[in-house]
């Protein structure tokens, strides 16, 4: 029997195939170059410029292909629509910005972080395009294995190692459940392709219904782990605190963006939303993570752990909206893009604060230790951090509000008023912990401790922070374009 999984057409790339796949090819080239650079023990300046250029090139290509190319199919395993291109472009953008401020002595001995970063980005960009579960699993692993290594970058520091060990063990454990889920799908429908599964799902009846529900539950809970929804978020705080700042900021933003968009695409493709109980399961997770995540965030005293739990809350917001089919995708992408950029700003300013206060690189700051910052840091960065935190909290004139508004409007459109109430309570509690972390730096009188000039300049991090603010504002105005595009995407969609 011919293996229809890899049909032969895959090996012949027509002229427009090149154009569509050019960003991926650029990424592959980047990986190759960076592996060579790593083997030659290149200095981190070289690594930074190389990885930044490759990533930004890929991002530009993705957004360029968004305009010119339509929908591109590669066999049955990959489908590159406008939505996937925007997600991939966003991920490359975030990775490029976070690679800007990877500096300091610890990175010098581990010059392979560039390659790992690019592989991780490649995995994330491919994930939404997967159209069968095998490809999905492979891209998921391509995404998470470099992530484990990246979070172990400070190999001589215990916190980073412990974080990556935890991340690895939990990741592996959860991917087993993911595999079990996929194999259940395979058992029910006899094939991994999404269309076949959707046919089988609609045909399932009676006891098989429960089997499908367990399969979906397993798959969703493992993806929920990746995105740190409530019951499976325990790893998030430790990894955010342990992993090096640029890696943590990249992982926080990009994984959520890529995994959530792939959930929306895959689940609506397989028609899993109409299995009884699935949407209830997703909404329940959403509600739990909004409320309990916010409550947890209120008690955190360290900025990075507070950002982790705010990640849980924002993931909860998206989970509330998920089970409404494909129309939800643009608002989810917009929301997560702005979230990722704001988290990027927070981590960047946190990095600058570390340098200015003369603390060691992997140390993470108490929120009230920001008080001495007032005299040491030019108020420009405080305004940036204020901008990011208030945008995360969703205060109107800032971009965070508009994206959250569109997200909540989906809830209102499906008249899910209970969920809307939960979301509003979450925003209110969110106000609590975002403002509370603003308070020490803004409201307490400045303690004038001496200005220490650290050996590594913080220009990289400041560059990231500024760029991130500019891009989050761009998203705001890109939104209208996004919205226009969506209507056309939906027309062409299946």
């Amino acid at each position: 029997m011919p293996i229809d999984f890899f049909d032969s057409s895959i090996f012949y790339l027509g002229p427009d195939d090149w154009k569509n796949l050019s960003p991926f090819i650029l990424l592959f080239a980047g990986i190759a170059v960076l592996v060579v650079a790593a083997s030659m023990r290149a200095k981190d300046l070289v690594l930074r410029t190389l990885s930044f250029s490759f990533l930004s090139g890929a991002a530009v290509l993705f957004f360029a292909s968004l305009l010119s190319q339509g929908r591109f199919f590669l066999g049955s395993s990959m489908e590159l629509g406008p939505m996937e291109r925007i997600v991939a472009g966003g991920i490359c953008l975030i990775a490029a910005l976070s690679s800007l401020y990877v500096r300091g002595p610890d990175y010098a001995r581990h010059s392979e972080w560039g390659a790992l970063l690019l592989i991780c980005v490649l995995g994330m960009c491919l994930l939404p395009t997967a159209r069968n579960w095998v490809a999905f699993f492979v891209y998921l692993e391509v995404l998470s294995i470099p992530a484990y290594l990246l979070s172990a970058l400070y190999s001589n520091r215990e916190k980073s190692l412990e974080a990556s060990m935890k991340y690895l063990m939990m990741g592996a454990f959860v991917s087993c459940f993911f595999l079990l889920g996929i194999s259940l799908f395979f058992a029910v429908s006899g094939s991994f392709k999404f269309e076949a599964i959707s046919v089988a799902m609609t045909a399932a009846a009676g006891p098989q219904q429960f089997l499908c529900f367990t399969a979906v539950a397993l798959v969703f809970s493992s993806l929920a782990f990746k995105v740190s929804l409530f019951p499976f978020h325990f790893w998030a705080a430790d990894v955010y605190q342990g992993a090096p700042a640029p890696i943590a900021s990249f992982l926080a933003g990009a994984t959520k963006l890529s995994v959530f968009s792939s959930i929306v695409l895959a689940f609506s493709e397989c028609g899993l939303w109409d299995i009884p109980g699935v949407s209830l399961y997703v909404k329940l997770l959403g509600v739990l993570s909004v409320v309990l995540g916010a409550v947890m965030a209120l008690t955190q005293s360290r900025l990075r752990r507070m950002l982790a739990y705010s990640g849980v809350v924002n993931a909860g917001f998206v989970a509330l909206v998920l089970p409404n089919g494909l129309s939800v995708l643009p608002s989810v992408i917009g929301f997560l893009l702005v979230y990722a950029l704001s988290v990027l700003i927070c981590f960047a300013v946190h990095e600058i604060a570390l340098l200015r206060l003369g603390r060691s690189m992997d140390d993470d700051l108490e929120i009230n230790s920001f008080v001495e910052l007032k005299s040491k840091l030019s108020p420009f960065y405080l305004v940036l951090l204020g901008f990011a935190l208030l945008s995360l909290a969703g205060i109107p004139p800032l971009p965070g509000f508009f994206t959250k508004y569109v997200l909540l409007s989906v809830l209102a459109k499906n008249s899910a008023f209970l969920l809307l109430a939960v979301a509003l309570i979450g925003t209110f509690l969110g106000l609590g912990f975002y403002l509370r972390s603003l308070v020490p730096m803004a409201l307490y009188p400045a303690i004038d401790s001496k200005k220490t000039n650290s050996e590594t300049s913080s220009s990289g991090a400041s560059l990231t922070a500024i760029a991130a603010t500019v891009f989050s504002l761009l998203v705001l105005f890109g939104f209208t374009y996004l919205q226009g595009l969506i209507s056309s995407a939906e027309l062409m969609a299946r």
Binding site: I395, V406, F428, L443
Partner: protein, 499 residues
Amino acid sequence: MDPINTAMLIFWPAIFAFLLFTFRKNKKAAQWANMVFHLPWFWFLYQSCLLWRSSTADGMFPIVFNSDFFPLLKSNFALGLDGLNLPLIGLNVFLSFCLSLYALGKEKLSSSYLALFALLNAASVGSLMAADAFVFYIFWEAMLIPMFFLIGIWGSKNRVYAALKFFAFTMLGSLAMLAAILYLWVQPDIQSMGWHSIAQLGLLGDGLWSPRFWVFCGFLIAFLVKIPAWPLHVWLPDAHTEAPTGASVILAGVLLKLGVYGIARWCLALFPSIAVLDVVSFTMKVLALAGIILGSYGALRQTDIKRTIAYSSVAHLGFMLLGLFSFQLAGFQGAMFQNIAHGLSTGALFLIFGIIYDRTHTRELSDYGGLGIVNPRLSMLFVLSVMASIGLPGLPGFIGEFLILNGTFVLSPWFAFFACFGILLGAVYMLRIVRGMIYGETSSVLKSHPIKLSFSEWGSIIPMIIAMIVLGFWGQGLIAVTARASATIIYNLQGEILR
């Protein structure tokens, strides 16, 4: 007189907020620049008044400026100007100018304070003029951030608690409004979030528990928190006591008024059929009455002077709420007039007390005494503004309260009767303050801290006092301004009552 002037009313303060940021180094130049920037603002106000007077559009809320900046969210940047919001904008500009005079030569008030102040002005004028629900919500929330930092950074001792509490309460209210706007936004047959299209929105259904009722409640809660109506007023005393002088004058003068204006514009005018339901109007009147009586009792209990004045504004705003829900032209116009009168009188009270507080740094009534001996002119002005806030005829407070009570008497005489006791209690707690501060032997605090007012401080109080005296007798001019707009609103309301 082209409409760009009205838009400049909002953008001009925003622009000079950023300009003020450039004056980081020297404070003196920033304060003088802030004062000078107010002059073009007055000019824009003047132009808008000409535009308003010349515009004959008789509709409910004539749109003067319109540009679509965010088509995605079904809203465009529409600004409206009519009898209801023009006086309030005028009051905002006037108070801000007085405060800029007050700020000259103050050591504490840095350029970022003045910039935040200008942003606050821009946001409040914006939300006054917004004719689109979404734009209104954005400006409404945008007011929170500068106010939060103004109270938080420049306030007195436990300012952080007060700022957080202020932000939490107002945010709670505006989230209810956000839910209402969201519901309106997803309605199938709504073309734009403009004020007029919401007004014509038919499908929401009528009656007590209909969706239209819930949207009405969403808007109402946000304004009740802002007013503050009785149960939700707990944040006001803290915010007022901890806020710096300028912030508490603007808070009393403009921000609280936005609650009343909001109810008039976005609740009564938009959903008259709901406002007229007897359950709704009865509960509102009960809340108003509770605000009056318990606000006054609250004021009686305080030993801290600023808290007493804060509680007194809870009582005064209870009157305005009563006026709004009296569904009589007299009551409605009385509430709008009292809006301005209360802004002036409480603003003057806070400003005068702020000037004294800058020197003595204590707010306890027992520390004061014998101000009449130390500075007779200032105490005379203080007594005058106290009399204005009590509602002594010949000063604007009386006209507002008289019209409100007259309006309420027509439909609900018992409420008017009990509200009169608010006037009595008002006299009691205000005179207690006057007796504690002005009369009696000079207290040690006043002896050790001489109260000598600089020229700019006199300059900031005198215009307010003159405005009060002029408004006390020439009130009819202001009532005529709000006549046309409130007549149409009341006409609809009474139409609903008959149905």
